[in-house]
């Protein structure tokens, strides 16, 4: 078994495999097409990609043989009566994320979409249906809004490994929502978050989590890189605590990775700010905490430290334990095999990296 990295770029899928102590490009697929999402369903090793064709719309493909062949599947459709805030019909704009359901639902699969949709498949992705309870949440029409996009979108889905009926989703912009009953009802979980761009920064809804995870070993520990800081919760999202660094470094950014074996440990990749989306001081840095966000260590070895305009999108940072990989907006791919202490550039010639997934196969 080898580690494999799937890199979805704005111009194709690149697959790396770790063989005989070296990382090699095993294959390139969908060359020329924007691969906006990659995902591996670890239950049966199914690979998924979403292509976001500029001309031909969104396309979902899956592979059961590690990318040797691909099967095209219908993309989810919003119900005919589904409406945007404006009253216009809702249509699929982007598939942001995919998440396998709990172990007792072996063919269950979730999608997070724009505009503001959570879809569920109970047949392994052959078809998807909108989770209407969240779509019909009373806050959606008046309090959800787009961030850098025209419409709100669901980019993170967390399934509690202890209880398949217990889920969280994170919405840009609305915030975090939790269901304890398999999606029949949803509650906002945004206490402690700050939305500096709202008249009431402590509003219940209107927050902008950029990416959210729960620690697999302790699922009540949640982490999020937010538009307005970095937050951690130790009580399943009832209360969030700002864990941004001293002098706001790290603070702003999109991507976060966590150690699923250790609830105190996580990594972020800071950018300057909302207004200046480049590496801080034009020097690329990963920040790691070993104490639940009380302190952050700067990790720079092997990363460019001058004239670096790279930032990292929210789905372009992945890890398995201490093996971390991220891809940047300028097509660089960096890897660390020791928890971030040392980085290696795997490629400097990719297109913009949209999404990364690491697996073993």
């Amino acid at each position: 078994m080898n580690k494999i990295i799937l890199v979805g770029t704005s111009k194709g899928l690149v697959v790396y495999r770790h063989v005989e102590n070296k990382w090699r490009i095993e294959t390139t697929q969908f060359v020329g097409f924007p691969v906006s999402m990659v995902y591996v369903d670890e239950r049966h090793g199914t690979w998924w990609v979403c292509l976001t064709h500029r001309h031909w719309g969104l396309k979902l493909h899956r592979s059961s043989d590690q990318g040797k062949s691909w099967e095209a599947l219908p993309v989810p459709k919003y119900p005919e009566d589904a409406q945007l805030q404006s009253g216009q019909p809702a249509t699929l704009r982007k598939i942001w994320t995919m998440q396998q359901a709990g172990p007792d639902r072996p063919t269950g699969l979730y999608l997070g979409t724009e505009p503001g949709g959570l879809f569920f498949s109970n047949n392994g992705g052959d078809s998807f249906e909108l989770v209407e309870s969240l779509w019909n949440h009373p806050s959606r029409k008046d309090q959800w809004f787009g961030a850098g996009r025209d419409h709100p979108f669901i980019h993170s889905i967390v399934v509690d490994p202890r209880n398949s009926n217990h889920l969280y989703v994170a919405v840009s912009c609305a915030g975090v929502f939790e269901t304890m009953d398999g999606g029949n009802s949803w509650q906002a979980r945004n206490n402690g978050l700050v939305a500096a761009y709202l008249p009431n920064p402590q509003a219940e809804i209107g927050h902008d989590p950029h990416r959210m995870f729960a620690c697999a070993m302790q699922p009540d520990i949640l982490w999020q890189q937010n538009h307005c800081g970095i937050y951690r919760s130790t009580d399943g999202g009832r209360q969030w605590t700002d864990i941004a660094g001293v002098n706001n470094f790290p603070n702003y950014g999109f991507a976060i990775a966590i150690d699923h074996r250790n609830p105190q440990r996580a990594w972020v990749i800071p950018a300057v700010s909302d207004e200046i989306r480049v590496a801080v001081n034009l020097a690329l840095c990963v920040c790691r905490t070993e104490d639940g966000g009380q302190t952050w260590q700067e990790l720079r070895q092997g990363l460019p430290q001058e004239n670096c305009f790279d930032i990292v999108f929210r789905h372009a940072f992945a890890n398995i334990d201490d093996v971390l990989v991220f891809g940047t907006t300028t097509g660089n791919l960096y890897l660390s095999e020791n928890g971030g202490d040392q980085w290696t550039c795997l490629s400097g010639n990719l297109a913009r990296v949209e999404s990364i997934c690491m697996t073993v196969g």
Partner: protein, 90 residues
């Protein structure tokens, strides 16, 4: 029968794509015929509401169709229909 010509860009997805003859009287009917001959292609041309995708152009002769919402433009038996992709920058 009207003749439908396709941009070669669609050959990437439909390798056996070729010019076809159809009996449709409107663009909507033509698309249904295209779908019959090339299953799955309609989803490349229209969105989930059946509207022409923003970056797809359909011409009847040398004229762009005018109804991208319901695809009601009339297609005559002798017409040449062209399915193209719109130009884009970058």
């Amino acid at each position: 029968m009207a003749t439908v010509n396709f941009t070669s860009a669609l050959k990437r997805f439909f390798p056996k794509l070729d010019t076809i003859q159809v009996e449709g009287k409107t663009v909507a009917a033509v698309l249904d015929q295209i779908e019959q001959q090339y299953p799955g292609m309609k989803d490349y041309l229209v969105d989930e509401r059946g509207r022409l995708r923003k970056h797809v152009n359909i011409f009847i002769g040398e004229e762009l169709i005018t109804d991208g919402e319901t695809l009601s433009d009339v297609v005559a038996e002798t017409d040449q229909v062209f399915v193209f992709q719109a130009l884009s920058g970058g």
